[in-house]
Amino acid sequence: MSNTFNIRIGGEAGQGLVSIGSILLRAIAREGWYLFAHQDYESRIRGGNNYFQIRLANEPIATWVDKLDLTVSLDRATIGRARKNLTEDSLVIYDPDVFRNEELPFTPGENYIALPFAQVTEELGQPRIMANAVAAGAIWAFLSDDFSVLADVLGELFGRRGAEIVEGNQLVAKAGFDRVQGLASKRQKPARPEHPAERILLSGNDALPLGALAAGLKFMSAYPMTPSTGVTEYISRNGRKASVVMEQAEDEISAINMAIGASFAGVRAMTATSGGGFALMTEALSLAGSAEIPIVVVNAQRPGPSTGLPTRTEQGDLTFAVAMSFGDFPRAVLAPGDVEEAFYLMGDAFNLAERYQMPVVVLSDQHLADSYTTVTPFSVDRVEIDRGKVVSGAEGGPDYLRYKLTEDGISPRLYPGFGDGLVISAGDEHDEKGHLTEDGEMRRKMVEKRMAKQKLVEEEALPPVICGVEDPELVLIGFGSTKGAIAEAVANLNERGTRAQGVHLPQVFPLPASLEEILTGPGEKYVVEGNASGQLQALIASRFAWKPTGCVRRYDGRPINACYILNELKGGGACD
């Protein structure tokens, strides 16, 4: 992976990091590079130290790296935090004015370039708020000789705010670009792809709602909670165009129950939340299980317990998401590993929910939610809509039974008002018609009918996604947002002569039966996951009575990358 170039822009909350980030992402992608960008931010509105990190390459990449090639520091803290990731060749652009009369904690020179962002802006008669464009210009000088690409992007992103703002930003960005030219011209520019393909640039929090729209979402209700809020806001902004109602609820309990009401009436409905909000939704998930009402819930994980680390990442809700609620009922839990999977798995989530009339949880996390990648444009036509068994008109006549006992456990749905029959649903135990019953025999039949569906869900569980060699000596198994990190670790190992294989599980419940072949196949097995207790390991162990060789776990709130996995493997990765 020598042809990747890694940039960090660090500063305080409120200094416009996301704005520089989006400008650069767009310019970089437009120039043909592939990229992976992730964000590290604190749970506050001003101050602190946040960064936006962009890794670009001449071939597709799916994770981040530690080593920084170029660091831009708008505040004082960024340099200190970046130090352990710097090498001899690393460059740091810093603002001398933020250190005022203090002694600099580094030696200025070839590797540390002073650029007084605010001062440059003011000298050009522009407001200080544009200082971040100076930084963007300076970064661009190390990527390209052609300033016009950046100028165009600034024009597009600020166009709505008028010509004066656009020109001001372009002016100061050019100043930043020119100021570092002396050094930049001596450095080799990152290699570009030979045949740049058409791509889109988006984050997990863009891809999930976009996938839901592609799947025919019609109703969403949610209560904001980081890091799921991006999903909710995307549908709020764009839902109307696709004729989707997105209603902000008074709490998560209301959010999921509204969505269940809408689904019962016959539309595809979802909600999105994070750990604590998901906990509030659990009673309603049980209702959906009992009343057999399809529902899709996106749970964007963040580190718990409790409100934990609101803006950071973890995969600590797996056990909880699988357990989901009280009582026995069928369910599925999906865990997209990247932006592309996030889009397409939403289609699977809705199809599963409607085919089996049950809740489906899509596990995201802050790392997937907030990370951007360049991918092949999604095909909306590839997202097939299967609404399951639904009757209307004569078939939904006066004899219609909402919970008709059938061989496969699936009773055809009728949307209320779409036939002469009446749709009677209840969370309390019910008979075939839907009326309440306490009859033991009927209860047994209804339990068996519901659980029969679980078997079918398992039969069509999504297969593991495999990378690396076919006859491994080492196998890394993970789910969700570790997909890219595992793939890169596997590539690294293979390059260095260890025959390695990566196994990503896009569906964590029910697990696909085919996983057993891998578990009992060749190679030492390590389970890689972002939690302390080894929740994926426990899940696999409970299903297949199996024990791995070892494990790699992370629970400091930071995302796993290839380097982390490789270091942990070297350190033994002791496993319980």
Partner: protein
């Protein structure tokens, strides 16, 4: 036992003989008949409690949901299919205790549904504990020394929030209740009907006789102005020797569906995925 009249379908119910719920069931049936509604076009979303069982005894579509969650569930169903006449039905515990937050926000949102609260001032199904509506001093399984808290006033709360239709009726007055339910259905927006409902088993204070002696019709002399919010709010506090029933307050406000007018001209449930729009949204991520 209920007589098989109109919309009523049940031969048997899980209610105690003499329960105020029978009066509510009959009045609801009569109101639906008089409104000439088809059962297929009616949806009852109900909670858990003795009140929540009502929809199982009457013709229509039913979603018998969780304790306290009738309002959000009904809201979602109504937004998905505006062609349905949607009722939310539950007890005073369901609506004012477990679902209290939803009550506030359903009023604010002004979703076009009719909310029938079977207000027996007690938790019936769980066998007689205090509810937020229990009179002070009432001895129950959880308040052996008598209820200390002041009773919740749903009408004053709804009027405070500028609820569009705020009414009280009485399970023992068929005509009044039928008329009030009809008016509630015809009202465009969220319509609250708090129904005084004697619980013959667990509430020995607010009995049929108690109400017979106190309840009076607000509209009996034709002088009550239900558009005067301040007066309505004051009226909502009248309780004790005299208890007013009728529509305390009524005002037309934009409904929740009006916020989505561009989208909901055809009910959501009759709309398909707009592939071209989604495709354009994908394209918007091109660099």
């Amino acid at each position: 036992m209920t007589k098989d009249i109109g919309f009523v379908t049940a031969k048997e119910t899980a209610w105690c003989p003499g329960c105020g719920n029978f009066g509510i069931l009959r009045a609801l049936s009569r109101a639906l008949e008089e409104l000439e509604l088809r059962p297929q076009d009616v949806l009852y979303v109900s909670g858990i409690g003795q009140a929540g069982k009502t929809p199982h005894y009457i013709a229509g579509n039913v979603l018998n949901t969780l304790h306290g969650r009738t309002l959000p569930t009904a809201t979602g169903a109504k937004l998905a299919n505006g062609d349905l006449t949607v009722f939310a039905i539950g007890g005073d515990g369901d609506g004012y205790a477990e679902g209290g937050n939803h009550f506030l926000h359903a009023i604010r949102k002004n979703v076009d549904i009719t909310y029938l609260v079977h207000d027996n001032q007690v938790f019936g199904l769980t066998k007689g504990q205090a509810s937020p509506r229990s009179d002070q001093g009432m001895v129950t399984g959880t308040t052996p020394a008598g209820v200390a808290n002041e009773a919740f006033n749903p009408l004053a709360t709804a009027i405070t929030l500028n609820g569009g239709f705020v009414a009280r009726s009485y399970a023992g007055d068929q005509q009044h209740l039928t008329r009030t339910i009809k008016a509630a259905v015809q009202h465009r927006g969220f319509a609250l009907v708090d129904i005084l409902q004697p619980c013959v088993t667990f509430n020995k204070i607010n009995t049929y006789q108690y109400y017979r002696e106190r309840v009076y019709d607000l509209d009996q002399d034709g002088s009550y102005d239900r558009t005067d919010r301040k007066a309505a709010w004051e009226k909502s506090w009248e309780w004790g020797d005299r208890i007013p029933i009728g529509i305390l307050y009524q005002v037309e406000r934009p409904t929740l569906a009006d916020q989505y007018s561009g989208i909901l001209t055809t009910p959501l449930v009759r709309q398909e995925r707009d592939t071209a729009v989604v495709h354009a949204l994908v394209e918007s991520f091109k660099v």
